[in-house]
C-alpha cells in the first residue's frame, strides 16, 4: 500500500533551484534512505514532504487518514520545558487521543523515562536528539521523516535508534531518512533516493545503486563513482 507519493516536487529560492521535479513513492513499512552530497536538496525534500515549507511546484499525497511525523535535522523542542512537558505539548498540538498514554509510551520506547522531568537545556546533545525524534514520532504517524537522525548519537544510542525505527517500520510506518552515512543507508534502508544539486539521480533498491556504479566494492565507493560519472 502506498503510504506517500511525491509528484514533480520542486523548490526555488529566488534564482537558485534547490529541488527539481522529484517524484517517488513510499510503501507502508518501507525504509527509504535519501543520500547525496552536501547541498543536494535532502533537507529541502524532507521539509517539503513534512509540509514545513511550501513547494514551488509539484505535490505530496498521503494515504487517507495518515499523518506525517517529522524529525528535523536540528532539534526543534523547547529547552526551558522538561522532556515530558515537550512531549505532552506536542501530543496536544498533534491532537493525539490519549496524551498521557502516548507520552508514557514514547518515553519508554526512547529510554527517556528517567529523564522525563529534566529540562531539555540540561540534557546532552544526544539526549536532546532522542527527544527530538520522540516528538516527531509521538502521534504514531503513517510516514516518519527523519533528517540525519543519528548525527549526534553515540554508537549505543544509534543502535537503539535503529532498533526503534525498525520496530516502527515493522509496525507499518513508512520511513524516509536523510543521511550522509552510506553504510547506514545500506544497513537500514531497503531503497534509496540519490540527490545531487536538487536533481533526483537514482531511485530504487540499495543493491541497484551498487550495480549502477562502474565497478566492484562497497556501496560508498559505488556511490562516489556513480556521482562522478554524472558530473557531481
Amino acid at each position: 500500500m502506498t503510504a506517500l507519493s511525491a509528484r514533480s516536487l520542486s523548490k526555488r529560492f529566488g534564482e537558485r533551484v534547490a529541488l527539481s521535479e522529484v517524484s517517488f513513492e513510499l510503501e507502508a513499512g518501507e525504509v527509504l534512505a535519501v543520500i547525496g552530497p552536501n547541498g543536494a536538496g535532502k533537507t529541502t525534500l524532507l521539509t517539503l514532504l513534512a509540509g514545513a515549507a511550501e513547494p514551488s511546484g509539484g505535490s505530496v499525497a498521503l494515504a487517507e487518514g495518515g499523518r506525517i511525523g517529522w524529525v528535523p535535522q536540528q532539534t526543534a523542542v523547547y529547552s526551558k520545558l522538561s522532556v515530558a512537558e515537550n512531549l505532552r505539548l506536542f501530543a496536544r498540538l498533534e491532537r493525539v487521543g490519549d496524551v498521557d498514554a502516548a507520552v508514557a509510551a514514547m518515553l519508554e520506547q526512547t529510554g527517556l523515562v528517567d529523564r522525563a522531568a529534566e529540562q531539555l537545556g540540561r540534557l546532552s546533545g544526544g539526549n536532546r536528539q532522542r527527544v527530538n525524534i520522540a516528538v516527531g514520532l509521538l502521534a504514531r504517524p503513517a510516514v516518519a521523516l527523519l533528517d540525519e537522525p543519528s548525527a549526534s548519537l553515540d554508537p549505543r544510542q544509534r543502535e537503539r535508534l535503529w532498533s526503534f525505527i525498525g520496530a516502527q517500520a515493522q509496525a507499518g510506518t513508512g520511513i524516509v531518512f536523510a543521511t550522509h552515512d552510506i553504510a547506514e543507508a545500506e544497513r537500514h534502508a531497503g531503497s534509496v533516493l540519490v540527490l545531487a544539486d536538487g536533481e533526483l539521480l537514482y531511485s530504487g533498491p540499495t543493491e541497484g545503486l551498487r550495480q549502477a556504479g562502474p565497478g566492484e566494492g562497497d556501496l560508498e565507493t559505488a556511490f562516489v563513482e556513480f556521482l562522478r560519472e554524472r558530473g557531481h
Binding site: 521539509t47 515549507a53 517529522w70 523542542v77 523547547y78 520545558l81 496536544r92 498540538l93 516528538v135
Partner: protein, 446 residues
Amino acid sequence: MTALRWLIGKDLRILRRSPVLATLLILYPAVVAVLIGLALSRSPGKPLVAFLNEIPPSAATITLGKTVIHTTTYERQLFQAIDPVVVHSRAQALADVRDGTTLAALIIPANLPRRLATADESAYVQVIYNGSAINQSLVQTALESKLAAANAELASQLQRVADGYIDLLLSGGRLGFLGLSIDVLGLKASAQILRAVLATLPAHSSLRARLGPVASFAQIAVNNLASSKAVVGAVAAPIVARSTFVNGAKTPLDLYAVAVAVAVSLMFVGLLLASGMLALEREENTFARLRRGLVAPSALLGAKALLAAACAFCVGFAMLAGISAFVPLDWGRVGLWLLAIAGGALGFAALGVALGALVRDVRAASLLALLVSLPLVFLALVPSGAVAAGLYDVIRVISAVFPFKPAFEAIDAAVNRSSPGIWESLGHLALLIVAFGGLARAGLRA
C-alpha cells in the same frame, strides 16, 4: 482556540523558568512606581548654601517715605528655598563652596539697603557657584523663584511709596522731612487758587496774561499726573503672563509624568515579550514544526500577542495602582484606565509580533525592539512649537504609525482627562493593531 491555549500555557511556563525575566516583570512596575511616586510626591531637598549677610544690624531697615522695609523679611523668604549655612566672612563662604561643603554661597552686600533706598544703582545679591552646571542649576532654580517673589514684594512697596508722593503732589497734604512736617499745597488746589485769582483780575491786566499759562500748566499736570500711577505699576510688573489652554484644562506635570511612565513601561514589556517570544520559536527551531499544520499562523501570533499584552497590562495597572499611593489619581476613572492600558498593551504587542516575525533569534528581536521604540518615545513627546512646523508634521506622521503616541494619549486621557479623548486614541490603536497583525502574518510567511 485549543492550540492557542496550549501555546500560551507553554509560554507562561517558559517565562516562569526564566527567573531573571520573571523577576524583572514583577519588580519592574513595583520599583518604577515607587521611584516615580517618591519623585512626584516629595519636593527636592533644599540645596545647602553658605549664607553671608554683610548688612550691619543698624542698617537692616530701609525707610522710604512713611514705609519701613526690613531686609530680614526677605532673608527669611530666601531661606525657604535654601538650607543656609551661616558664615561670617567672604573667605569662609568661598572656602565652603570650593571644598564642596555647600553647593553655593549667597552673599547679601552691605550696600543693599542704600542702593534700594536711593535707587541710583542696581541693588543685587551675590551668588557664588563651584562651577558644576548641575549644582548651579539646582541652586538657581531654588533661588530664582524666591528672588522673584522678593522682587515683586519690594516693587509693590516701592510703588505704594511712589503712589503716596503722587497723591501728595496732586492733592496736597503733610510731608515729613528731616523731622519736620511740611504742608504741601498740591497741584489741584494750586490750579483752583490760580483760576480764582484770574477771575478777579481785569480783562486787560498784564498779570492775567502772565498767570494764564501757569494755570493751564497746573490743570494739565493734574490731568496727567493722575494717570502716572498706572505707569508706575506697569513698570513694577512689566510683563504679566496669562495662561490659556486650548483644551480648557492642563495636565499637571506630575500626572503627565505618570502617563509617560506607564506608556513607556507598557511599551517595553509588550514589545520585548511579544517580539522575543515569537523569535524564540525560530531560535528553538520549533517554528517549522508548528507551522506544518499544528498551529495556524494567526493562532501563533495571537498567542504571543495576547500573552505579551496581558503581561504589559498587569505591569501597567500595577504601576498606576502603585503610583496612586503617592500621587492622587482619580480611582473613579479606573474603568477608563483599564481600557487605555489594554489598548496600549495590545498595540505594543502587535508591533512586537511584527518585529519578532522579521528576525530569527531573541537577541536580535530585543535589539530591534529597543532600536525602534526608544526614538519613537522621544519623537512622540516632542511638543508642537519646539521644532519647525514642517519637521513637526513629519514627526506627527512617524508618531502616528507607531503605537506609543496613541497609547500615551489614551492613558493621559484616562488618567488626566486630557485631549484627544480616549476613544479617538483607542480607535487609532485598533487600526495599528490590525496593520501590525497583517505585517506579522506577512513576516511569518517569509
